[in-house]
């Protein structure tokens, strides 16, 4: 029986760097250690990976950052408004492409779900989270295996 390694933060960061660079035309620098990365009002995109490894990826950022990401993806100027459905769609698509890269790196017969987006504060500080910088703001990306989901109240 083939076993698959769980995606680690280095793998996910490599996927994010690729997506940031080719779709958003920005660098995905690591968030500086010791600098607070919490926010109260944000968006969280989620997508499931199924197969040899089962779990999901979560991308959480402040609402204003989500709007900036959508603007960059859509080629909309910083002073032009972006509709909320377009912001949700854009953030979901960014995570979809990150998820596709991660799934491909895991290898084997895997399936990727469809992305979803919901309102969310930043992850609890106790949760392990990869944090990258978007124009000086934190973007959290979490790798959540099913076992952790089952124990998550």
């Amino acid at each position: 029986m083939t076993t698959y390694s769980a995606p680690d933060q280095a793998l996910v960061h490599a996927a994010i760097e690729q997506v940031w660079g080719s779709m958003l035309f920005e660098a995905a620098d690591p968030w500086p250690t010791g600098v607070p990365a919490e926010f109260e009002t944000g968006l969280q995109a989620h997508i499931e990976i199924r197969g040899g490894w089962n779990g999901r990826l979560l991308l959480t950022c402040d609402s204003a950052v989500a709007t900036q990401i959508a603007g960059a993806l859509l080629g909309i100027g910083p002073d032009e408004p972006v509709d909320e459905p377009d912001v949700h769609d854009a953030v979901g698509e960014v995570l979809n492409v990150v998820g596709g890269s991660v799934k491909g790196a895991i290898g084997g017969s895997m399936t990727l779900g469809l992305p979803g987006v919901r309102a969310s504060a930043s992850p609890r500080s106790s949760e392990e989270s990869l944090v990258v910088s978007w124009r000086g703001n934190p973007v959290h990306v979490q790798i959540v295996p099913d076992a952790e989901l089952a124990g998550d109240s």
Binding site: Q18, V19, S22, M23, A70, L73, L74, G75, P85, D86, D89, A90, G92, E93, N96, V97, G99, G100, S101, K103, G104, G107, S109, M110, L112, G113, L114
Partner: protein, 131 residues
């Protein structure tokens, strides 16, 4: 000449659409495979020359859409290009076996898409008087 973009993400349809408009295409859009079949049926007399098709979509996925297009003789001239996050070799083989002519993995650059158009003979310089 027309291109049909089939993707459940409006953002991705806009990104692909912008590149194709710059390459001289008029754009048709659909959010899933079934909607794309309906769009083709509605444009039976003036079909797109190209369809860029995502794999993972609700209602009808891209692989099923390509299979359905290939069943119809009247739609055989449409060039089909998968544009998807699915990067595994077996997925590429399945798409090509179903009738896709080209395969582009997300994330991609505008130049990569234009290169694919060149390979397919679908850029203004290669299509000539079709533009």
């Amino acid at each position: 000449m027309r291109a049909l973009i089939v993707d459940d993400s409006r953002a991705m349809r806009r990104i692909v659409g912008r590149i194709l408009v710059d390459a001289g295409f008029e754009i048709l859009e659909a959010g899933d495979g079934q909607e794309a079949l309906d769009v083709l049926a509605a444009h039976d007399g003036d079909l797109p020359v190209l369809a860029c098709v995502d794999w993972n979509m609700p209602v009808m996925d891209g692989l099923t859409f390509i299979t359905e297009v290939r069943k119809r003789a009247a739609w055989r001239a449409i060039t089909l290009m998968m544009v998807t996050t699915e990067s595994e070799q077996d997925r590429i083989v399945r798409a090509l076996a179903a009738g896709a002519h080209e395969y582009l993995i997300k994330p991609f650059t505008g130049d990569a898409l234009v290169e694919k158009l060149d390979l397919l003979g679908l850029t203004p310089t290669t299509v000539g008087d079709l533009v």
